[in-house]
Amino acid sequence: MSLFISEAFAVGIKEGFKLWLVWLVFSSLLKEQDRPGLMRPFYLGLALTSMLFAASFLAAPGQQARGLLVGLTGYTFFIFFLSSALALYQGAGVNLFGPLRLTNRHLLRAVITASTVFYFSPDIIGSSMFVRDAAEMKASYAGVYLSAASGFILPLIFIFTPVQARAGRLVSGYFGLPQFLLFLSVIKLLGGGIKGFAEFSLMPLVQAGLMKFFHDVVHQTFVYLMVPDHPMLNTTAWNFVGIFFGSNISIAATLLLLLIPPSVFLHQSFLAPVPEPGGGAATGAERRMFKSSVVADRRRKAVPVIFFMAFILISWYSGAGDTASRLYNPKPKPVVEDKGQVVIPFTDPTMDLLDGRLHKFSLVSGQEAISIIVIKKPDGGLAVCLDACEICSPEGYGQTEGKVVCIYCMTPIPVSTLGRPGGCNPIPLNAIITERDLRIDVAEILLKWKDVKTGKTKGAAE
């Protein structure tokens, strides 16, 4: 079996398995709450998702829409995780917004349908695009599509077998709304990737996003509040500051951010006072029986939360990567000005710009050597930037797997985000790409370099 066919099969199984799991737990939750009628808006959501899938498959969206989908998968994770966090707080008795109850039946149904579409569409559409690309590369549409479709259908067969009822009984009683939302976000985290084997889970995307968020918060705080004379500050001071957003600390801090809501829930589940029964309990035994049932229910509902916390923890660290690996930091190749431009060929006997590795070039201007980086991004485009960011001292960037890393503050930046301005990203340059080379205006290089040296980019970030 070719790699394309097996990958399409795996992608199909992943999407089908996610759908089956969500179907199983949601139906079990509704059964326990005696509201099986709410499966109908769920089915409607699935039908709408199928229609969106069909439309996108036929329309074959372009690069921009794909980028949007990748972002959307990350946002859906965060929205469901945030919802579960709020629901966990609510379930733990911390009423953030007072008693939250959707009493309007029509509104509840609309929310379920919309959530179903929002949850499944990015993954299904994204994965279908991946399968479509695989089919085009293989030039064997039938084999790849059939493989993906059969993989998708395989887990759904469980719905019509006794496995569904048995598994439903097994999970019954363990899921309330907070646990279900947490379950959805964990499923999304573990299986929300839409790039086949290259990115099966959302873990790298979420890690990168959270780490960048954490880093930016710490970094900007120091820059704007505590170190106003930056970037003139000496390197030693920034090395101390850098401890706070070194990758190890930011991994731990972002993990903490993820684990705080379930931890609060568990704390409340095990340590919060058990409420007294209302007027119904006539005897002490009845009162104890009521309280005991509350305790038992709390413990049962804590089981999936503990399970998911362990899952997040294990997956997080297993995917954290080798942060101690040495950075690839090539020596800059000298380039010269030619009619107001720097011209860099894609290939020459000593290098290949499209090989995915970090390339550095040095333009001498007066007494200074200005460093420029070029790297091929996962989407095939070239990122062309100054070897400096708006915040740190211009020590430049090194490369490790899938990221470039600021040598000054050791902040990792995903290669896919290069070319975006702001924060710790290297300052992008507008390059003209021709068939054989790329060209950058020297005036732009000098202007942006001057801003770095004088700290004006700090104002731009503001």
Binding site: G284, A285, K291
Partner: protein, 222 residues
């Protein structure tokens, strides 16, 4: 309408003997019924059937409308835990636990512990000053009072007592019987008490006499 306790044609046969030979009995809820008879007449066997500790080889036992045969082992355990309290001739208190802990143990197996409620129960049986004493530091009468508190702590609907005063002198027997009478009047749970002592049986509202595995007399006292 079925009475709270209904026994229909109950037989209990062992390999070499028949302990019960077709017992029919109905006891209304809240009644105190004594079962008397000579040794080997089947009194304790009948009590074990009522408590779900044994099952009839033939016939049926209904408690509060539930046919005990239909209950699984777990359901039976839950049924006993929630509906039945036991007192035996021996106190069967855990020797290394205090009176309070012995009562709380019963709460634990029922649902969850509540020390203030257990304390209150021991005070009701006159042992407020013996809360932290172990069984070996209590007299026989006091031990049996702990068992009464333990049996009633979970508010059972039936109290099954098998020779509860068999090991006590007359003075302590009287104390226990007065205690049971007071509690019965306060809470109106059903009592089925097996004894061969006429002094004990006369505290009941009804006396059932057994002989050779059968009921031979059934008389209300008042």
């Amino acid at each position: 309408m079925m009475d709270f306790i209904t026994v229909r044609g109950a037989h209990r046969e062992y390999q070499t003997a028949s302990a019960l030979r077709g017992v029919d009995l109905e006891i209304a809820g809240g009644v105190w019924c004594s079962i008397v008879g000579p040794s080997g007449s089947g009194k304790s066997t009948l009590l074990n059937l009522l408590g779900g500790l044994d099952s009839p080889t033939k016939g049926q036992v209904f408690i509060d409308g539930v046919d005990l045969r239909t209950l699984s082992e777990n359901e039976m355990a839950r049924f006993r835990r929630e509906k039945i309290g036991f007192i035996f001739q021996q106190s069967y208190l855990i020797p290394y636990l205090s009176s309070l802990d012995n009562v709380m143990l019963s709460q634990y197996f029922h649902s969850m512990t509540d020390s203030s409620e257990a304390e209150e129960a021991l005070k009701r049986v006159g042992l407020g000053h013996r809360l932290h004493h172990r069984p070996s530091e209590l007299s026989g009468g006091e031990q049996q009072r702990v068992t009464v508190a333990r049996a009633l702590i979970n508010s059972p609907k039936i109290l099954l007592a098998d020779e509860p005063t068999g090991n006590l002198d007359r003075e302590n027997t009287k104390l226990i019987m007065e205690l049971l009478k007071r509690l019965h009047e306060e809470e109106r749970f059903t009592i089925v008490l097996v004894t061969h002592d006429p002094f004990v049986s006369k505290w009941a509202e009804r006396i059932v006499t057994m002989e050779d595995g059968r009921i031979i007399k059934d008389e209300p006292l008042y």
